[in-house]
Subunit: 204 residues, 2 copies
């Protein structure tokens, strides 16, 4: 294949969700319609690169002209509760549920001994700082429901015990386990089902 | 969502194979690791934009410094046969089969009354020119096996009848119909099966 095309396919295929095959299709489409596809993409990438930054408080993406971000500076949001997510993308998903109106804190990942990601790589010190300074009374952990997410939750529970003080420690909660919406028993894996049974609730 | 991020997701989701959801994931990944993902992508896009062009002869992608392209200028390829494809991507797929060693000609699409793509949008005049000048004795049509592909093949057969001369017209062939490899009767749709039966061949 042509070297510049090959390089383009290579860089595109590093993106999540784009395999080598779809990256190839995307590259050919970009070159077939450069005015409609390639030029606007270069422009959007450069603009995002120049303007988007991480909120100095919560770690979510924001624009340089708005730091702290709109979630951190919105006075109408509940300042007593903070939701801890792994990635900025998780924040947007939770926000779209409309069920949480507090603050956010982006950890930047989860603990993973296998991938050598220790607690020093996560924004845990920043979280402790914010709990002390902003006076959150609840931390809602919205982490992955896999082994690494569980390990991260366990580590945070350890670190935040008796924080910010032994008399008034912050309350740690996590998202409920159970069946997903629009699903059913026969679509669920055994672990999900076991958790849904253990955490069963009354029909009201 | 943030305006620059929104624009980026919008431009990414115009690419084939990227829905709104995967474009969002890709955009966040690009911003999370700009040095590893975003900067190389901008570079690769700009380089491809600057260096890749269409071969003046066959219409396939090539680099500016190599025009006509390597398929057109390779003296070891069979100059008597030309394979007509819709898009440059098709050419690469056929080339990877290793079964064709002649020249190529990119039509630039197929006839589509529904999408108002008439013959004037396709590189048909260029094909006629090449048949006369390069003396191809066979045109292998490698078009889609849908109604639009069939209509295009029918139109080309009409246009190329008695071309370049009534005594020695070019022979038009097309890819065989039948079952795909690594498949079986129960995976096939009725039309494929009907064609596979009509075009059945002896077991040798």
């Amino acid at each position: 294949m042509l070297a510049p095309l090959d390089t383009l396919v290579g860089t595109l295929s590093r993106l999540p969700g784009l395999g080598r095959r779809s990256a190839g299709r995307a590259a050919l489409a970009l070159l077939r319609e450069p005015e409609r596809l390639l030029d606007p993409l270069v422009l959007a990438l450069r603009e995002a690169r120049a303007e988007v930054t991480c909120c100095s408080r919560c770690g979510a993406f924001t624009v340089r002209s708005k730091n702290p971000c709109s979630f951190c500076s919105d006075a109408t949001r509940d300042g007593s509760s903070v939701c801890v997510v792994e990635e900025p993308a998780d924040l947007l998903t939770i926000e779209s549920s409309g069920a949480f109106r507090g603050r956010y804190h982006v950890l930047g990942g989860k603990l993973s001994p296998v991938r050598h990601l220790g607690p020093e790589r996560l924004r845990i010190a920043e979280l402790k700082d914010r709990v002390a300074r902003e006076g959150f009374t609840e931390i809602l952990l919205a982490l992955s429901t896999d082994m690494e997410g569980d390990a991260t939750a366990g580590y945070l529970a350890e670190v935040l015990r008796e924080w910010p003080s032994a008399d008034a420690p912050v309350r740690l909660t996590r998202l409920a386990f159970g069946l997903p919406a629009d699903s059913g028993v026969s679509y669920s894996d055994p672990l999900t089902l076991r958790r849904a049974i253990v955490h069963r609730c009354s029909v009201t």
